[in-house]
């Protein structure tokens, strides 16, 4: 090649100082300082972990402590003498197809109020929840023969009695004492909380409507954001040329992931409701709005996961004659899937807890029946929590906490499924 390069440096460049004193005092002090720094660092980390664990425990204990009572209700055994009551019903009508209609016209509320006043003295009617007629109606429909005599039916207590019985005090403590003396008080599981929807009386509200709304909304969000996000990531990583336009797209997507969520709500309002005239308050629009928000997260996580697939795998597949599409779908995507799923979990968890953008598209409406489809008006869990926390009635406090527990369980279930899937794909490869 070219002329030989000088191989050794001139001798003048060599150090002439004494050899390092590895056992000297200065060295010892240096080592001691280093160990101290290590210890401090470890303690700081441990303290941080303990602190966050403490916060988490505090949150869980308060939520479960408050919320658990939301799942139970106080019940009153109410004796009703149907035979001598003012009930307006022909027992024969209860067997036909018009049974529901007949019982709705039977003047049940008055009958129940009268029975309560008779059983528990003056003011008895106020101890009974407005939901009592539902229990009585169910009992009659199950056994029409009840109408020929007297029966004791377990009905939910009113908000005040329920709170007083659970130890929250209030004006109804005397009533609770009286009911206890009569032996009519009991505690039962509040099944209605899991099967009913929003209402005006805290003893009657349920979470099912919001839960179903959240389920539908999340399905729309996942169904839109996952495929679009993954395909966008694949295209950008595997096909798109590197130029000013793709740089611009990359910057935009990164910025989009950091945009405050309420902006997405405004976008949804402007485009989906005002421009496309989709139904307001519907899971369809909610899901689409949240998909806008989730998609950038999935694109970013997806691109990173795809980038992390070793190029040697692409070479290997191309080298035996796989087409670019086969390379992507047989090799790159399966290897990137665990990473993509991690991004999806983060995006979906954020979407599930999101309230602000949904308020903008009208999902804060009072919806008393569960949605039957994605275009029906619906509420979602975080919005329901927000609405209940805003209510005046004291009975809503525990319902709010109970709803939070349901939301957390939903989140936990969703994440568990995603983590299960992720691990499955990781094992396979």
């Amino acid at each position: 090649m070219t002329s030989a390069a000088p191989l050794s440096q001139p001798a003048t460049g060599r150090r002439t100082a004494a050899p390092t004193a590895w056992r000297g005092d200065a060295m010892r002090r240096r080592i001691a300082r280093r160990y101290a720094a290590e210890r401090r660092f470890r303690l700081l980390g441990l303290a941080a972990v303990l602190l966050s664990a403490g916060f988490l425990a505090f949150l869980l204990v308060t939520m479960v402590g408050n919320g658990a009572r939301g799942f139970t209700r106080t019940e009153i055994a109410l004796p009703i003498d149907f035979q001598h009551s003012a009930i307006l019903i022909d027992p024969a009508a209860l067997t036909g197809p018009g049974a529901e209609q007949a019982i709705a016209n039977a003047n049940l509320p008055a009958v129940i109020d009268a029975a309560a006043n008779t059983a528990f003295g003056e003011g008895g009617a106020r101890m009974i929840s407005p939901g009592a007629q539902l229990a009585v109606r169910k009992a009659i429909l199950a056994d029409p023969a009840l109408l020929n005599g007297a029966a004791t039916i377990t009905v939910p207590a009113s908000e005040g009695v329920d709170l007083a019985a659970k130890g929250h005090g209030g004006a109804d403590e005397a009533a609770v004492a009286r009911l206890k003396q009569a032996g009519a008080l009991s505690t039962g599981f509040n099944l209605r909380f899991l099967t009913a929807s929003d209402g005006t009386d805290p003893t009657l509200v349920g979470i099912w409507g919001a839960l179903k709304g959240s389920l539908l909304t999340m399905s729309i969000t996942l169904g839109l954001s996952f495929p679009i996000g993954v395909f966008a990531a694949l295209y950008l990583e595997e096909y798109a040329p590197r130029n000013r336009w793709t740089d611009l797209i990359e910057v935009s997507i990164n910025n989009l992931a950091a945009v405050p969520s309420i902006i997405f709500g405004l976008l949804g309002l402007a485009i989906f409701l005002n421009l496309m005239h989709l139904p307001r308050s519907a899971p369809l629009v909610g899901g689409m709005t949240l998909a806008l928000m989730t998609m950038p997260v999935i694109v970013i996580a997806g691109r990173n996961a795809i980038k992390a697939v070793p190029p040697s795998i692409r070479d290997a597949a191309l080298g035996i004659g796989a087409s670019p599409v086969q390379v992507v779908f047989h090799h790159v995507l399966p290897l990137a899937l665990p990473g993509i799923l991690t991004g999806t979990i983060i995006g979906m968890a954020r979407a599930l807890g999101e309230t602000a953008p949904l308020l903008m598209i009208g999902m804060r409406a009072f919806v008393a029946s569960p949605p039957h489809g994605i275009t029906d008006p619906a509420s979602v869990l975080p919005v329901q929590i927000f609405l209940w926390s805003d209510e005046v009635g004291r009975g809503f406090i525990e319902k709010t906490s109970a709803a939070i527990i349901v939301l957390l369980l939903f989140l936990l279930t969703m994440n568990s499924i995603a983590i299960y899937l992720r691990n499955k794909f990781e094992k396979k490869w």
Partner: protein, 263 residues
């Protein structure tokens, strides 16, 4: 500079030819006017110092350079007389006909069986499960790996040792019945014993496939190849029968390189 006329290069057993090939990465020219013929019966070794363009040239032979952004190939490269950069050439089919083994063993993170079966499957070479089993067994036998893995075909290919992985990659390339096999320093990541096994394998495979191997190891080139081409600074300095290159090189640069003056 080699000035041999093409007519002299072509023989009835010529499998691939390159004529006046230039390769550019953006503005930078990596390969300068290379002409060479690859014979069906031979193992052709490409030797030369690091960065001399021998791997780049190898990757033009199955158009793997297509995947590199900014890479541009000029000149004419033929497979059985057909221009592989021509409009009628399907690049996917070309890569099935001209297989490749890479520097670092790169089995798919799938089972051993799936690694070998993947190629035949995407090219529709097997018509039944039994067919595919047969292809896999044949390929693994040829790659000299069958006896070691026949009882654990459904374990991951990445769990094998480095040398076994490389033989698996060779088996994977063989499974699609290529006509030419390109090997890009297939032993540089392997220990001497695994290297010896791969060299044996190359000698076994000779004659069934035209083989082009890039190597840093001149003893290896001397052991496995019949023809050797010496690359330097993107140019083909000299090529001819291996014995001639190693015993009586015409060019001074070749002599300096093979005697270890630089490399």
């Amino acid at each position: 500079m080699v000035t041999t006329p093409m007519a002299d290069m072509q023989t009835p057993t010529t499998k691939m030819t390159a004529q006046g090939v230039n390769v550019f990465y953006g503005e930078k020219q990596a390969i300068n006017d290379v002409s060479i013929a690859v014979d069906l019966e031979d193992v052709t070794a490409l030797i030369g110092p690091s960065g001399c363009g021998k791997s780049t040239f190898l990757r033009t032979l199955n158009r793997m350079n297509d995947t590199v952004a900014g890479a541009r190939v000029e000149g004419r490269i033929t497979l059985d007389g057909e221009d592989i950069y021509g409009p009628d050439m399907d690049v996917v089919q070309l890569r099935a006909r001209v297989g490749m083994v890479f520097q670092k063993p790169n089995p798919f993170p799938k089972t051993i069986y799936e690694n070998v079966a993947y190629g035949p499957r995407i090219h529709g070479l097997a018509h039944s499960k039994a067919d595919l089993d047969e292809i896999v067994e044949k390929a693994l036998r040829r790659a000299g790996l069958w006896d070691e893995v026949k009882d654990r075909l459904h374990e991951s290919g990445t769990a094998l040792s480095g040398g076994q992985q490389q033989r698996l990659c060779i088996g994977r390339a063989i499974a699609v019945e290529p006509e030419v096999i390109l090997m890009d320093e297939p032993c540089s990541a392997l220990d001497p014993i695994a290297t010896a096994r791969i060299e044996e394998l190359i000698l076994d495979l000779r004659g069934n496939y035209a083989i082009v191997i890039v190597t840093h190891n001149m003893q290896q080139a001397a052991r496995v190849s019949q023809r050797t081409a010496f690359f330097h600074l993107g140019r083909l300095v000299e090529h001819g029968p291996t014995t001639e290159i190693f015993t009586n090189p015409r060019e001074e640069r070749t002599r300096d390189y093979i005697t270890g003056r630089y490399g």
